[in-house]
Symmetry: C2
């Protein structure tokens, strides 16, 4: 008892605000749900670690501590490599100036794969392979829905030309990859199932084109959180990438990919003022704590800068953060709601569910880990950032 008086375990009522809170029970359920779904379809998960940017979160997500894993920056690759992850896909088109770091990671024993969509990049990756004496493996990026990078699935000549260039210049053609970014603007199971099937069909067509030309294509990689959850058939696919599902967020709830009470991430905040004439409650979480992400703005239900919950994590009716300055959040009843404003005295603690877990997480240096129904902070897990 003396020890506990000297250094009491921190709780949601005692830690500084604003702080990032992670409900690890919700996270575990989110991970198990997707793993079960993909196991039933017979395809492995290569989780995207860009959402968590945390070794502890990564270890909850990955099949083994060695991987496989997906990253969005070489900084992530280096950080996870230092934590013994050995199978890493760097899923952003490779730039020539980054090849030294790719070579260094491979020399350290990491099976790091890059992605590209031009003959020019294939030549640069080949040159770096020959200079370093390692055949850098590459996936060709396929554009399945016109939202970002990649070769169109039916651009056979370009596909084969890139595949041949990889071999010719001394790199390794390891397969194809796509990302159904368009699924973030679909909604409901029917539309999402269709996005998933289009994603699968695009990359399987590209793989068959390469194979018909006598080129290898061992890896056929798809991935986005919405399509991963709504895929019904993954024939021809070897792996699924997904990231934000680990925490989920209001954007995913708005697409019906999850429920609001699946959201594992929130920002703990304190009431610092009121403007009763306007129906406003001021809190100490502004956009610096929430991020400027307004991903629900174009959805059916605009959640402002986030959905307001009590300190236990239960939504307070129709209360949302309607506006944000750098260190001020303006909390009010959602427009059109007839709900009243609850009594929230100065000092009251609230939790705000984020629009976009990747963006809100990135504003914080640590996770404060809680469990269902508990006020105690079980652990602090560091996040890293940068490139």
């Amino acid at each position: 008892m003396v020890e506990s008086a000297v250094s009491p375990q921190p709780t949601l009522q005692t830690i500084n605000t604003p702080s990032l809170i992670l409900n690890a029970d919700r996270m575990d359920r989110n991970i198990n749900r997707l793993k079960s779904h993909l196991a039933a379809l017979g395809v492995q998960l290569r989780p995207h670690l860009k959402t968590g940017k945390s070794v502890e979160v990564a270890r909850c997500l990955m099949t083994s501590n060695a991987g496989p894993a997906t990253v969005s920056t070489l900084k992530e690759a280096e950080q996870f490599a230092a934590a013994d992850v050995r199978d890493i896909l760097y899923a952003v088109g490779i730039a020539p100036q980054k090849l030294d770091r790719v070579v260094a990671l491979r020399a350290s024993g990491v099976d790091l794969t890059v992605i590209l969509d031009t003959v020019e990049q294939a030549r640069l990756v080949g040159d770096a392979s020959r200079k370093s004496g390692t055949r850098i493996p590459a996936l060709i990026e396929i554009d399945c829905d016109g939202h970002r990078s990649g070769v169109l699935p039916d651009e056979s000549a370009r596909l084969i030309e890139i595949g041949n260039a990889l071999s010719h210049y001394g790199a390794e053609l390891r397969g194809v990859l796509t990302h159904a970014g368009g699924s973030y603007s679909a909604r409901g199971s029917k539309a999402l199932e269709q996005c998933a099937e289009e994603e699968r069909a695009a990359v399987v067509l590209a793989a068959s084109t390469l194979r018909a030309a006598g080129l290898p294509c061992p890896v056929v990689s798809v991935g986005s959180t919405p399509t991963a959850h709504f895929s019904r058939n993954l024939t021809g696919v070897t792996e699924v990438r997904a990231g934000v599902f680990v925490f989920f967020d209001l954007v995913m709830a708005g697409l019906d990919v999850c429920q609001v009470d699946d959201i594992a991430l929130s920002v703990l905040t304190t009431v610092i003022g009121h403007q009763p004439r306007k129906g406003w409650v001021l809190v100490d979480a502004g956009w610096m704590a929430m991020s400027r992400d307004r991903g629900t703005a174009k959805q059916r239900v605009d959640q402002g800068y986030g959905l307001v919950c009590d300190v236990h994590g239960s939504p307070c009716g129709d209360l949302i953060m309607v506006d944000a300055n750098q260190e001020h959040g303006v909390v009010a009843v959602r427009a059109g709601s007839t709900a009243g404003l609850p009594d929230l005295p100065i000092g009251t603690r609230l939790r705000i569910l984020p629009n976009h877990a990747c963006a809100t997480g990135a504003q914080h240096a640590t996770y404060h880990v809680v469990r269902d129904g508990s006020q105690f902070i079980e652990a602090e897990w560091p996040r890293f950032r940068g490139w």
Copy 2:
């Protein structure tokens, strides 16, 4: 020459991308411009250090290394206190749980002032004052334009009640403060001059109400970057706070508070791909590097996620970042423009001017400092973050 071969000075062509670039010559001109303007009006500058979050930037901004300064978090107060800043205003409504840190900072020799707008907060600050044996100074926040917190300038009874409560409970009434947040949606000199005058009039009225009631009001503090630059008369005001002017940004250029070539902050990025059918150039700066801030979206000219410049910092005609994923930026010619897309091969370096310097800066751990017309990185200045 051997030394320079061993460790060549980094340049805009050699450092990792994405990276945050600070043109210190532009910054110095921005600082000198506002200091000259305020000197002519006979009022001191209490710069807001939340934009820079850097000791080096703060020292360029402040009148002396000891201050005065404004901060938006206690973390900033603690970091700047550790760098010997001694006169700090914490300009976000005080929450009761933060008073221990306020007391600790004051005990360490920092003249830290808090702000508040309720009798309840006055009582809490008074209680903390008496317990700690220090009279914590407080400014009463005035709401000059209905955009956030504060007492209305003509709510005389409430103002006097808060002022009396501060004395009664043992704290120190040091004055009044306001922030013309509404000026961010004004534009042009006439409208901005009017915002500045309304800001001044509001806080001067509040000060006279307190003085007429026999209460002290030595500090009369106003501030926002737009009003600071367009104030023509600051009679009755003792200090001006402003933050974003140190770097300026596209939002401020959109309000005609600065020109595009005053913007001192940019994000260095590398071309990683093309979608010629769509007129897109893909770069390795996404929203993680730019932030999700879309502050120009409601302005006359929507700059997307930022205005694209060549590596020297000159705008590339009508090229903007039209969309962003976490680590991908989509660069294209602005809608409605007849300009052609320049040839930007993979590996080309570009610089993107931000919508909002506070938000973009916060995505990065260091500034890479350059001077006008130079490619050399003169220094790396760390930024801090958190609360």
